[in-house]
């Protein structure tokens, strides 16, 4: 993408850094487990910034306390969906928080065409905008190659 310095969508905690190795991912998982968070894995081929609900790869792992176990699930997801975006999410259920505490992308399609901006002229000089995903023009499963 000419308008994006990194050439890829930059959602999540670490998208401006080189892709994390499995060892580095394990350290992040351990950090979250020490904080009492529950890890889950989600995948999608529709990474629109307003698409809240990625597909869940299994249930949140509330009772999985071993980083290696979480990493194993991640690698199983990568094997099943190699050309999908996959993210690790850590959930904090403390009262008054009850939301996601960590979220970072751990798998991407080889080619990320990104988004275009669609403008609709309305009254005066006002514009209505929508962010349009090039890949999502195609049906699920056909968006990022085989």
């Amino acid at each position: 993408m000419m308008s994006n310095a990194t050439g890829r969508i930059t959602q999540g905690q670490f998208s401006f850094l080189p892709d994390l190795t499995d060892d580095e991912i394990t350290l992040q998982i351990a950090y979250g487990l020490n904080k009492g968070y529950a890890w889950s894995i989600e995948y999608t081929d529709d990474p629109h910034p307003r698409n809240t609900y990625w597909e869940m790869y299994g249930m949140p792992m509330f009772d999985l306390a071993d980083p290696a176990g979480v990493l194993m699930e991640l690698n199983a997801c990568r094997k099943t969906f190699p050309q999908h975006y996959i993210r690790m999410m850590a959930f904090d259920s403390t009262r008054g928080v009850e939301t996601i505490a960590m979220s970072f992308i751990v798998n991407r399609p080889a080619n990320e065409p990104g988004f275009g901006l669609v403008r609709q002229e309305v009254n005066g000089r006002s514009m209505q905008y929508t962010v349009h995903s090039y890949a999502a023009d195609r049906p699920e499963g056909q968006r990022y190659g085989s």
Binding site: S3, N4, T10, F14, E24, I100, G114, S126, M127, Q128
Partner: protein, 496 residues
């Protein structure tokens, strides 16, 4: 001439509350402590509002009488006995000063605790709370100086306020950004850019990697840039950057104006153009702030509060209102972002005191913490949390200090530190984002970022030229001045 500080001198039975009603209400002038505004045995109720005042009585004024006068003049009293008191259940309406202590290390200054019955206050009105507590009292001649140092708002009273329209948790969910501080920058220069040029700055900053850009507090609608033009160009920039990065982006559109009607017009236009966030300045006033919070809640808008003007009354320890009280009032009145200080940047703020402000914004239950200037426990009764904002003279080279001091739930704003980058605004934004992400990653991995921070940044700079350039340009800049407002109970010196 300083007053003696031994305990015996502070209590004098001859001057205590007169309980004989005929004597109490005969026309004439009594001391406030005789009128019932001092009660050393009073046990505050769960439903009382408690205030801690730092008072400097005039020479010759006894500190208990001064504390009683503060209690009187911020509740029901006036300077002379009035018979009409007897038409009320006056004993329960009177505020009670119940404890007075000398301030450690500062002769002539005293802490005075005052309790206010819940009947004295209107539900859901900061204007009313402030009119009582900081209305008359501060001009009172027998006091040389007075500061409202801290306040405990009872849960019963907290529940009458709606609080932040969005709150920290829902803001993150709307942005889909978790686990790291948010990044912002104020468009610079402060004044003078026209709308088209302003939008360019916004686009470059957001495209490069910042989450937010920001109008400055004094950008409203001036001859060099009309507000409608700014909003149109800024929203084009925001949406372009969002499409370029696949992230939700925003720019705080300043809707501060001369009248409420004009503020609503500007807020509506921001909403029509699809902005996720608007901003207001503290100087619009408490009533306006509550109204705008209502509007933001009804229109799914995040509300950023700039604390413009607070420094006129928060900065000197002896007189004014502590910013921690302002922050508590703002959380009750309702705002989602609040500038709370950087500690290491260009504006006033000792690190411990500033962390106290962050606690007030982010805690579910703020605990007493004297070195951080928090004198009371404060139960927030599940009121939404405010996202603190650190803004003013900070740069990428301080990232380890900022994350160490403030954690993840903060917006770090680097105006000059983005726009002043030698290779341009986008490079400045990239540098800040890379510095942030590598520091969060390192902290999570268990590294000692306070001590290894500079190394961690240099290592990331090896594969990120913009970061290298930022560190080369600003690496040595710091703002080492003595703070004017430090805790009286500090255990370690301020860190620069």
């Amino acid at each position: 001439m300083n007053m003696p500080t031994d305990a015996a001198a502070l209590t004098d039975p001859g001057q205590d509350q007169i309980t004989d009603k005929k004597k109490r209400y005969s026309a004439g002038v009594l001391k406030y402590r005789q009128m019932g505004y001092w009660d050393g045995d009073y046990v505050p109720k769960e439903t009382d509002t408690l205030c801690l005042f730092r008072i400097t009585p005039q020479d010759g004024v006894d500190p208990i009488e001064a504390a009683a006068a503060v209690a009187g003049e911020s509740s029901t009293a006036t300077w002379t006995v009035v018979w009409t008191d007897r038409l009320t259940a006056c004993d329960s309406y009177r505020a009670k000063a119940y404890k007075v202590e000398p301030v450690p290390g500062t002769p002539g200054q005293y802490f005075a605790w005052v309790a206010y019955d819940i009947i004295l206050f209107e539900e859901g009105s900061i204007a009313n709370m402030t009119a009582s507590l900081i209305g008359n009292v501060f001009s009172f001649k027998p006091l040389k100086a007075a500061r409202l140092e801290d306040i405990r708002v009872p849960v019963a009273y907290v529940k009458t306020f709606k609080g932040p329209p969005t709150g920290l948790v829902v803001e993150r969910e709307r942005l889909d950004k978790f686990g790291r501080p948010l990044l912002g920058a104020t468009t610079k220069p402060k004044l003078g850019l026209s709308a088209r040029n302003y939008g360019r700055v916004v686009y470059e900053g957001l495209k490069g990697g910042l989450d937010f850009m920001k109008d400055d507090e004094n950008i409203n609608s001036q001859p060099f840039m009309h507000w409608r033009d700014r909003f149109l160009y800024v929203m084009d920039a925001v949406n372009k950057a969002s499409a370029a990065t696949g992230e939700v982006k925003g720019s705080y559109l300043n809707i501060t104006a001369g009248t409420m009607e004009e503020m609503y017009r500007r807020a509506e236009f921001a909403k029509d153009l699809g902005s996720v966030i608007v901003m207001v300045d503290l100087v619009i006033g408490w009533t306006a702030i509550q109204s705008m919070a209502e509007w933001c809640r009804a229109n799914d808008m995040i509300m950023h509060m700039h604390r413009a003007g607070h420094g006129t009354y928060t900065r000197q320890k002896n007189h004014g209102v502590s910013f921690r009280v302002i922050a508590k009032w703002l959380r009750l009145a309702g705002c989602d972002h609040l500038h709370t200080g950087t500690a290491v940047g260009k504006l006033e703020g000792d690190p411990m005191t500033v962390q106290g402000y962050y606690n007030v914004c982010r805690d579910s239950y703020t605990k007493q913490d004297l070195p951080r200037g928090l004198f009371f426990d404060q139960d927030w009764a599940d009121l939404k949390k405010v996202m603190p904002v650190a803004s003013g003279g900070i740069h990428a080279g301080q990232m380890h200090q900022l994350i160490h001091l403030f954690g993840d739930d903060v917006v770090l704003q680097f105006g000059g530190g983005t726009i002043g980058h030698p290779a341009g605004i986008q490079a400045g934004a990239v540098a800040n984002r890379v510095a942030l992400e590598c520091m969060v990653k390192a902290r999570n991995e268990g590294k000692d970022i306070l001590n290894e921070g500079p190394e961690i940044l240099q290592k990331a700079a090896l594969t990120c030229t913009p970061l290298k350039q930022a560190l080369d340009t600003w690496g040595d800049i710091s703002f080492n001045y003595a703070s004017t407002d430090t805790s009286d109970y500090a255990v370690t010196p301020s860190v620069a």
